[in-house]
Symmetry: C2
């Protein structure tokens, strides 16, 4: 069965040597000294290893069960959820006014990685609650906040997001769920929502559903959509639970992975709901949540890859098979460990350099979100808005591929469910799909974000890289800045190609959108590895640890970053190869 150890040393290095958080002037960052963050991460690591990881495989095997309208989560989940609540983990980066601990989002992100690596399906129950918490926190009235937030911060009540319907996923304009206004200011919600993660379960006393629905007078398409709070149990004015609302689970899905998280069909049969935020502005309310939600899914991409990597590495060191061609390494044994073989190392280095680079990218983005939210830094906000689809799409694609590679190291044993490597692959797969399928992320990036605010944000991104390269013009940094410069040039050439062709042929940009997202992702990780190299060259401490960072950075530069040229070549082939075949000829 797989094991998991939180990569605390790597995280500390990122926080303190690369991002230098405690020297930052972001509100709340001054408290993040190394001993504090180390204590938090170590403690989270213990919970992850001792409580969550042991339930990962058993939760996958048992899955969730629907019986008489009640969803039973796998054995052990209830106690583990209680432990998370008691430890205050659900409240970590929530508002102290509602019982939260008020830590920066960056710390919530680091702790989140640890929990996701240990048990992704379990962590979704609180992860979705956090998303619903944020929505109410941002858009709710004072009364709504007072009524719902304290219980959601503690996870006594959990939350959900209800967008998708059977006939509409990406295209929410097709939505059929209706909200009928009532005399008392509430609404009656009627419709069917699908793919509702944690829609029903036995971990909490109440479930607060946030539901997109069409209220009268809003017009066609997405314009008419509003967001509603629909609790499973109505809440009395004194905070006690009242009547059961007219919302029920119709079915739970049998999925490829994340079996331990109940994915529900939810039926709203005239359920009582209250408007959250402005009428007919539901999409806008959802969008303000989107950066955090997509960062959370991008995090899942590399967090699962980290867990898979740890177990691939353990196997590569233990399993004896074949001999090192340059000379026997384990003369007293019948064979050498797998890790002596160059192709096994290639796979391990692919995984390691991806996971560490993606972690840096994610922490850096979380840091930007803190700057934006806590310090009102508009440049940071613009950059995050540009890069979030990249982070989500690239990291979940590569994370899945790396989980597959980790499974591959186990050979035939990786295909056997008991060994747990298959679960990593099956679980990682969903992150490419939900919260906007990766093709939609690419569309968002190229179709919206590139040109947003006159292209200001992508120009800022190019400037950021240019400035970094200029400021780090040393011989020691050349092996990192030169490949980064090359990659950045490729991305700029692609953006130029879009600019020159998109007006005449919109499909010229859209046909290259996926490649653009991936080359942006590689370039972001290239930038991160250059930043890591810079920190490793100047930091003091464990020399072997710092040397390993430089070696891994060199690997990424040599073997991953050159992918930008391929993506550029594809983009520059234009729309024609993609669009030329008539539909009926497929």
């Amino acid at each position: 069965m797989p094991s998991y150890t939180a990569p605390v040393k790597d995280m500390q290095f990122l926080l303190h040597d690369v991002l230098q958080v405690s020297a930052s002037d972001v509100a709340g960052y001054a408290d993040l000294d190394a001993s504090f963050t180390s204590a938090v991460l170590e403690e989270a690591g213990k919970v992850a290893s001792d409580v969550l990881a042991p339930l990962n495989a058993s939760g996958d095997r048992e899955g969730c069960h629907l019986e008489n309208g009640v969803v039973r989560t796998p054995k052990g989940f209830k106690a583990a959820f209680e432990a998370m609540k008691q430890g205050g983990w659900t409240a970590l980066d929530c508002d102290p006014e509602y019982g939260g601990q008020g830590l920066p989002y960056l710390m919530g992100t680091a702790v989140g990685e640890i929990f996701v690596s240990a048990n992704m399906a379990f962590n979704m129950y609180q992860g979705l609650t956090h998303g619903a918490y944020s929505a109410i926190h941002t858009h709710g009235s004072p009364e709504q906040k007072a009524m719902y937030l304290p219980k959601m911060v503690s996870c006594d009540w959990t939350g959900t997001m209800n967008l998708t319907e059977p006939h509409c996923g990406t295209d929410l304009g097709l939505m059929r769920t209706r909200a009928e206004p009532q005399a008392d200011g509430s609404y009656k919600i009627t419709g069917t929502k699908i793919f509702i993660s944690a829609g029903e379960h036995d971990l909490a006393d109440n479930i607060i559903h946030l539901v997109l629905a069409k209220a009268p007078g809003g017009g066609e398409g997405t314009k008419g959509i509003s967001l509603f709070i629909v609790p499973k149990f109505l809440v009395n004015d004194d905070g006690s639970l009242g009547n059961r609302n007219a919302v029920s689970v119709g079915n739970i899905e049998d999925k490829m992975g994340i079996h331990a998280n109940a994915t529900c069909v939810m039926n709203y049969d005239g359920a009582t709901g209250w408007l959250l935020g402005d009428l007919h502005k539901g999409m806008r309310a959802m969008f303000t949540m989107m950066n955090e939600a997509r960062l959370g899914v991008g995090l899942q991409g590399y967090a699962i890859a980290e867990a898979a990597y740890q177990n691939a590495l353990g196997y590569a060191k233990d399993r004896l098979q074949g001999r090192d061609v340059t000379g026997v390494k384990n003369p007293s044994g019948p064979a050498d460990p797998l890790i002596v073989h160059p192709d096994i190392r290639r796979a391990l280095m692919d995984q390691k350099s991806f996971v560490e680079g993606a972690r840096a990218f994610t922490f850096w983005a979380a840091n930007m979100i803190d700057k934006s939210v806590r310090s009102g830094d508009e440049a940071a906000e613009g950059l995050v808005s540009l890069l979030i689809p990249v982070l989500k799409g690239f990291q979940t694609d590569r994370g899945f591929e790396m989980a597959v590679q980790a499974q591959q190291i186990w050979g035939g044993h990786g295909y056997i469910e008991d060994n747990g490597m298959s679960q990593f692959v099956r679980d990682a797969r969903i992150a490419q799909i939900y919260e906007g399928a990766n093709g939609v992320q690419a569309l968002d990036l190229v179709g919206r974000k590139l040109a947003q605010d006159g292209g200001k944000h992508v120009m800022a991104f190019f400037d950021l890289i240019k400035t970094f390269i200029k400021e780090n013009d040393s011989d020691a940094m050349k092996p990192f800045t030169e490949p980064l410069k090359k990659a950045s040039k490729d991305v700029q050439a692609a953006a130029m190609f879009f600019m020159n062709n998109a007006m005449k042929t919109p499909n010229a940009a859209l046909a290259g959108s996926y490649d653009f997202m991936l080359m942006m992702g590689h370039t972001c990780l290239g930038l991160m590895w250059a930043k890591i190299a810079k920190a490793a060259l100047s930091a003091e401490g464990d020399a072997d640890f710092l040397a390993a960072k430089l070696t891994t950075a060199r690997y990424y530069m040599a073997r991953q970053l050159p992918a930008t040229a391929l993506h550029l070549a594809r983009i520059e082939s234009g729309a024609d190869p993609v669009m030329a075949l008539p539909e009926e000829a497929f």
Copy 2:
């Protein structure tokens, strides 16, 4: 639930326009006129659509069950297996002397694709029997052939291959299963074998296990290994079944996919076996089977991708979501079908161009095997031996990726098991692992095949491409031959890099082996698309069909073949990035 239609028109085009089989002087090919092959393929397609495909999802869901030493296959499998036998499908390319129909291997391959696409797990029962049949046919004594082959050709008895043990997969030198010679010329076989596909089941009266074991006096490592025939029921001289042999199933594995094929732990407790072929030459006997076995797995790679593609395409045409940015295509509907969106088309074109290219490569290789086996063509044999690891490794890797892409087109619905797209991904995954994990294919290619016979075969491969380009020096062919020339140059540069560095640094070649396998794969598919383009330019018939071939060829040239440059860049970065990190620093 997924559906499947055999791509008979595409297959006919390959057989008659690209490979021009009936004009070939390979023994038996003269009979392969278009109406005959069409009749065979159409009929196979009917069996696939009507009998096998309907059992694919149900077989996955039900799986195999072990009860009291007996393995029960899923509902419907027994009747379907009977239908395959009655239709003569199991005997298609077997020796007429033993009841076979004597068709060329190429026809067996084409029919095999159809059956694998429809139901991979089911088809393995006869596929493995065919492998065991070939081993006995090649290495058996006349008595052994007479005793076993007729029943195996008819699939009244099925076969297995027993190589792997718990502690040894790739490194068979570590094998512990023993063979003790008996006075009557038989052997007592003792040991445990794992991952034995179809090791036990209820579809046949007897199961003929081929077992690798160490007999005394053979020396250390793989040298001491011999191959043995170990039937489940001993066979009397009159052909009737005798006593149960001391071989039993210990367990069946719970796997990620191919649930309907029983993967068994087999215990040999002094089971009676007979030597097949020469004593201590078991590895050599296995190797003669390997080309066909690996081609069969490489075929699974694209056959599953074909089935997944068909269902992704159907969904992309049916599912209404969003609007074409260049103008509404479905004004009477609430939205346009997915296929109008460039990124959906990109994914579909990736899949289509891979599947058709891989089919061409596989048919071409099967044709080479026929030339080698039926006409003693040594050049063909050398080329096949070089390219088989490419065909297996590249096609199963890309086939898996394409199944993932097909699943992605279904969005969230692709993650739901009921829709069947997940099964394609889970089933396709095994093909990258078994019959030599793909890293081992890369090692075989670079560590053995490149230098084999003084590098003769790889030189022949380069010559083949050069000659093709020279012979097709027309303006119409330039869009295909130019990219092929570029890719071929990249491969030659990589081979040159290995030659210049491998003597001094063996790891310089091994660290690049996987990339070399993939770039060879792309180049082979590039060659195939150039051949297809040539045929499409000169063939007569359905103009739309031929135009689609040219369009798809252009897509492969523009968007896939340029990958060779990336692989070359990685290879030329040498061993250092891959090997520099000390083991303890991982």
